[in-house]
């Protein structure tokens, strides 16, 4: 493990720029700001603070029923074991809430004009719903199914029942009425994986649990020498996120 830099936070933006950037870094600065790197430094917040403070993070978008659903879902899909903490301890539920309350959830970069038609699978997403609307409708429809089938909402099901519901959604065999269940599940699954593996600045992947699981080194990657040095050898991974270098 001695090959990794010891002072992680010292290997920041400025050292990297000195090492790698050929262009003129100061070319676009205004008169008052010392350099782009300095100007973008946040207020003197300790770099580890956002991740450490997150367990009590509050919801912006999901209502109480949806919060219970999402927490149960991410803890079922990402259970605690020797490899990682459970989904809510990684912050995946918070990631999902923020994604849905933000621009992506509200349909940013999504063409939302009609007329609407189901179309062929090859034509991609054709629902008149933003991701946030799809999530909301999908949770309601899944809970309605769970109440009919098990007389409980998804969050109250036992693990075997939860598994049955998720298999049903992922295979498309569980009908959600007007809503295509696989489309809902594809969106849910994608956001769970984003919450596990996106940079921790987005609220998930807390303490880089997802990156540590696979040995992904994160945002810092100056591998010019490492290609030879670690050829067919394990790369000592203590991942660095964007906040660690900001």
């Amino acid at each position: 493990m001695t090959d990794q830099p010891k002072k992680k936070h010292a290997v920041g933006r400025r050292d990297f720029l000195k090492k790698a950037v050929a262009g003129g870094v100061a070319a676009t600065t205004t008169a008052v700001s010392p350099s782009p790197a300095e100007a973008q430094q946040p207020a003197p917040a300790p770099t580890a603070a956002p991740a450490a403070a997150a367990p009590t993070a509050a919801y912006e978008f999901l209502n109480l029923e949806e919060q219970a659903f999402v927490e149960a879902l991410v803890d079922h899909m990402i259970p605690a074991d020797d490899l990682t903490p459970k989904g809510t301890d990684i912050g995946i539920h918070i990631y999902i809430d923020r994604a849905l309350s933000g621009a992506w959830g509200k349909g940013d970069r999504l063409y939302m004009q009609g007329p609407w038609s189901v179309g062929q699978p090859s034509q991609g997403y054709q629902l008149p719903l933003t991701p946030a609307q799809l999530y909301r409708a999908g949770i309601a429809a899944t809970n309605a199914h769970c109440l009919t089938t098990y007389r409980k909402t998804f969050d109250k099901l036992d693990p075997a029942q939860r598994e049955e519901v998720l298999i049903g959604l992922s295979s498309g065999k569980l009908s959600l009425g007007a809503l295509p269940s696989r489309t809902f599940f594809t969106t849910v699954y994608q956001t769970v994986m984003e919450g596990m593996f996106a940079d921790p600045i987005y609220g998930g992947n807390r303490n880089k649990a997802g990156w540590k699981l696979i040995g992904f080194p994160g945002a810092l990657a100056v591998n010019r020498e490492n290609v030879e040095k670690f050829r067919d050898k394990p790369f000592p991974s203590n991942p660095i996120g964007i906040a660690d270098m900001s």
Binding site: V21, L110, Y111, S122, Q123, Y202, I214, A221, V227
Partner: protein
Amino acid sequence: MATRLKEVDVVIVGLGWTGGILAKELSEAGLKVVAIERGDMRTTAKDYSVPNVRDELRYVVRHDLMMNTARDTITVRNSPSQLALPMRRLGSFLPGDVVGGSGVHWSGHTWRWTDMELRVRSMYEERYGKKFIPADMTIQDWGITYEELEPYYDRFERTAAISGKAGNIRGEIQPGGNPFEAPRARDYPLPPLTPILASEMFTAAARDAGYHPFPRPSANASRAYTNPDGSKFGACQYCGYCQRFGCEANAKGSPHMTVIPIAMANPNFELRTHAWVTRVNKDSSGKKVTGVTYTNVLNGEEFEQPAGVVLLCAYVTNNVHLMLTSGIGKPYDPVSQTGVIGRNYCYQTGATATLFFEGRHFNPFMNAGGSNASMDDFNTNWAFDRAPHGFVGGYVVGAGFNTVLPIGYRPVPAGTPQWGKAWKAATAKWYQTAMQISASGSVMANRYNYLDLDPTYKNAFGLPMMRMTFDYKENEHVMGKHSADFINKTARAMNPTHLTEATARTDPWTVVPYQSTHNTGGAVMGTRPRDSALNKYLQSWDCHNLFVVGANAFPHNSAYNPTGPVGALAYWTADAIKRYVKKPGSLV
């Protein structure tokens, strides 16, 4: 009412690789040039710097550098009998939307397309006879030869800092390079990148089987470099954040750090960002264009920019769209097979196998576009006899990694659950131990693959969207099977612990997931107005002061990435326009 601006010599629509090259060349030639770009200005120092550029969610998943489909998109269908529906978000391909265009977020693979592409119909007919080419395969010669383009390929390779190993210098085969490439006057400006383990293992296996692997030529500077224009490159850091990202090291040849800043320093050049061209204007005769009309997207104000010469340098699909909405040239009709605008739209195909080697460490986060290996034995190798296999075209096989980040890349053997403890254990175990072998295959033009205007859907400017009708045909299916069989045979010989085999695709083309931003055709070059929109100088047959520069000019698509000929043709066209302005009229 649009405000009419002062006339300039040249107006350029879109400022990526082609617009950037033409902006630099023509402003240096003394012409007054204005470039109109819908995106914003981004620079390495302020936008592509560590740490914020190292963000998979923002750049790969949320498409920060890409075209915004909420504002403008295309409609898609697989055949003329289907109802086309909007591509409501990006997926299969990713046109760029900033100054520098897709030249910012490409990964740099740069090839020289040879006469096997440029003279495709002649070469196949001469060797195999006319009947070998199916009746609905509308391939044609491009009207230009490799020999004519060679100096321009060379020029682009030097501008963009291509690292690679020559395979054929003036007819002499060079050890370690691609022996099937056409003769080049000299080697690449930079040596190849250091190969990663996956490339080395594939190279060894391909060589053992009697094939000819070589380092993939790519615009990732293998060491610090200053190009002939004085643009400075840092050395590639193998950071693994290459395609979809701007390069913080300025190691990836991109227009925003080469040709564009040089043009911007020239008083003859002016860039207008946030400006969306809605129309190319014509004079009353219809034989000349007079300039463009655009909207300032910051406040909605409309302007008319008159110009002596108009250059369409936007993405393939946007160039064709502007021609269709502006009524330039006759739209293609697949039933009567008349008209040319929208004709010969092509895409690419491919197949991939994943090989798992217990105990190996591939470190898939260390890579660059050029850290990979390729082989061309089934592509630019005319000695490979297509007759027994029954297909036109070919495929490149390669291995290595090219920006595989963890939201999108976590290979596990077949049969692994999608979630839960077993999924986690498998993900942890196999992430570092997997490599892939992939093929990229050509797509030959077909009568029923084309672009036209959609009758229903409109973009944010009230213009009809472009409609894309595309699917793979028998030729691609046959070739796809050949490529999958080859990949699987090679992979098995490498003796992996597990193998997820490559499968030849048989299902229709889909708008998800991502496949390749290598769309081509729709306003193609050629020898006669009957079946091409442009002559060999990318000059419109209909309006001689309009040039349409980019992969829209390719009459079919090869297995190779398109940027090599796109860059070469931009330099070639720049020289042609310098002649044109002295003596306006048709250049052929």
